[in-house]
């Protein structure tokens, strides 16, 4: 049996169903991500696992033990919040020591464990500071140390990087993943950011409107979206209705078609039946809007040299990798 197993979990607030029959299995040591747009129920699911929100029915098994009847204090779960939730009246050291204090760990032992946790997040020089004297990234690392020091069975991360700026976010992302691997800690990470999800996770649960739409590793999710929502949420898929798809491929297509923008190549030879509408430089990638046979497509081209940059109005021909075509429901 899996380490964490959620079975038929239901939650509603009044008339609105937050999620419905959630089933998922997580292995020991796995880093899984709940990915979805805001309001899809991912944060509520996380809070239910932590015990901060009650569930209507269903079971959450952690290492074979049903968590639903347990209070949050007894679940042995660590959590990191988007708002850091550091205690402003305590120093970094006191914040990290709080969980051990609650468990009545002896002072000397507490000291060494706090020191160790702070060293892990590289903040041992900041132990005597107060949270308001730290930057956002440092605050979140303290919060991480605080939730790790009690050796939780399961670590929950509720959009921990959303309040940080891009550079810090990338760095902290790697640091979290390293620590998680080193400790072999089973972790559930909640985010609405597909890049975070794709780069960090062993497995991703894609959620929409209170359901798990698709689960799988980053590669599966990216290359094989199961439905329109998955294709629209991950990557920058070109989504075509059957009419446009048939016109584009010049053969009848029954369903909707999803084409990844990087699976299309622009060429300047052959039949120049396409035209560049506009382009924008994303850095290493140039993103073109191209029209061909009255179908508008997004095409991503690697920015190798200045000759890759085609001006608007340029006639081009398109080659589409047929393996990358996906029909979605």
């Amino acid at each position: 049996m899996s380490f964490v197993s959620v079975r038929k979990l239901q939650k509603r607030y009044g008339a609105s169903q937050i999620f419905h029959d959630i089933d998922c299995e997580i292995e020991r040591g796995e880093f899984v991500t709940l990915l979805g747009p805001s309001g899809c129920g991912k944060s509520t699911l996380l809070r239910c696992i932590a015990g901060l929100t009650s569930v209507d029915s269903g079971h959450i098994l952690l290492d074979g033990q049903d968590l639903v009847p347990l209070s949050p204090q007894k679940r042995g779960i660590g959590m990191v919040f988007q708002s850091y939730a550091l205690f402003p009246n305590m120093t970094v050291r006191q914040n990290v020591a709080f969980g051990l204090r609650m468990q009545k760990v002896k002072a000397e032992l507490r000291q060494t464990q706090v020191e160790e946790a702070l060293r892990m997040v590289e903040l041992h020089d900041f132990a005597e500071r107060y949270p308001h004297q730290l930057s956002g990234g440092q605050c979140q690392r303290v919060a991480l140390a605080r939730s790790l020091v009690t050796r939780p069975r399961l670590l929950l991360l509720d959009e921990p990087l959303s309040a940080l700026d891009a550079r810090i976010r990338k760095h902290l992302r790697e640091q979290i993943r390293e620590i998680q691997r080193a400790l072999g800690l089973t972790t559930i990470f909640v985010t609405h950011d597909q890049e975070e999800a794709l780069t960090m996770s062993d497995r991703i649960f894609l959620m929409n409107q209170g359901r798990i739409v698709q689960s799988g590793d980053a590669e599966t999710l990216y290359t094989a979206p199961v439905d329109l929502f998955a294709a629209g949420f991950i990557g920058n898929y070109n989504l075509l209705d059957p009419d446009s798809a048939s016109r584009l491929l010049q053969r009848p297509v029954a369903g909707r078609l999803a084409i990844r923008p990087e699976a299309i190549t622009l060429r300047l030879d052959g039949e120049l039946d396409g035209q560049v509408l506009s382009h924008s430089l994303l850095g290493n990638v140039i993103r073109y809007r191209v029209t061909i046979r009255d179908v508008e497509l997004i095409v991503d081209v690697l920015n190798r040299s200045p000759s890759d940059l085609h001006p608007a109005g340029q006639r081009v021909s398109l080659a589409i990798d047929t393996l990358a075509l996906r029909e979605v429901a």
Binding site: Q73, F87, P88, N89
Partner: protein, 264 residues
């Protein structure tokens, strides 16, 4: 004072100092009068003395009134801390919707003028099983209602600033019971708001006269009632009383501000 460009700075400073001067003038006059041996026919007092202060601070009736004022105020504030803190916690943590109702409720003590509500209170508590008129208890109860708006608003602002829910959640996941979380995490972070509220209410209640006079009067004389009763005695003596009162509140405010300073 903040650095200002020189041209506008002078004008602003003059206005501020002028305002200070106008506000301080009556106080300075009172101070001088309380220190004067006699000051009736000349422009300046004829001599300076501390005898009015000595007389005041050795007057048992004044000391009793001072103590009684202190007792009633502290009693009322203790009652409000004990009742309002848990109330606020429950409202904001469990029933956030009640906040709107509370905001209307706390305006009531302001909506009804003290003279009107004291008539009602006299009627209600004058006789019967709850006869409290003339005892300090009715003042404590009444002052509680006056302190309520100050306490509620100041602490609410503080609560909204600390992200109560996440702090409670974090503390509970780390193994703290609701009580431990409230005492170890939430309460210390409300210290600022609580101190501001207590100080504000204390200076207001310490100077309260209408309720004290109408509900209790001379049967349990507070400072303001004593001052009123002494209005026909020596003006020098009364000035010494007013200055003593003022100095006490000032000293208290200063001490409270010092204690409330941010940790380094």
């Amino acid at each position: 004072m903040r650095a200002e460009p020189a041209s506008g700075g002078l004008y602003h400073r003059v206005v501020v100092y002028l305002l200070f001067l106008i506000l301080l003038l009556p106080l300075a006059g009172t101070l001088l009068y309380s220190l004067a041996t006699s000051w009736s026919e000349s422009l300046l007092p004829s001599g300076l003395t501390f005898k009015w202060y000595v007389a005041l601070w050795s007057e048992p009736r004044f000391l009793a009134a001072f103590g009684q004022s202190l007792l009633v105020c502290v009693g009322a504030l203790m009652l409000s801390v004990v009742l309002i803190l848990p109330l606020l916690f429950v409202v904001h943590y469990h029933f956030p919707r009640l906040d709107a109702l509370m905001n209307i409720l706390i305006l009531l003590p302001f909506a009804v003028p003290p003279v009107v509500s004291s008539v009602g209170l006299l009627h209600l508590y004058g006789s019967g099983p709850m006869a409290m008129v003339g005892t300090p208890w009715i003042l404590i109860g009444c002052y509680f209602t006056i302190a309520l708006p100050f306490m509620y608003r100041a602490i609410t602002n503080n609560l909204q600033a600390i992200n109560l829910r996440d702090l409670m959640d974090a503390a509970q996941l780390l193994g703290a019971s609701t009580w431990q979380a409230a005492f170890l995490v939430v309460l210390p972070n409300l210290r600022k708001g609580l101190m501001v509220a207590l100080l504000l209410s204390f200076s207001f209640l310490f100077g309260e006269f209408v309720f004290a006079n109408l509900l209790v009067g001379t049967r349990y004389e507070t400072l303001q009632v004593y001052l009123n009763n002494m209005r026909n005695s020596s003006g020098h003596f009364n000035s010494a009383l007013v200055i003593s009162y003022f100095a006490f509140v000032l000293a208290l405010t200063w001490v409270a501000n010092r204690l409330n300073k941010d940790k380094p």
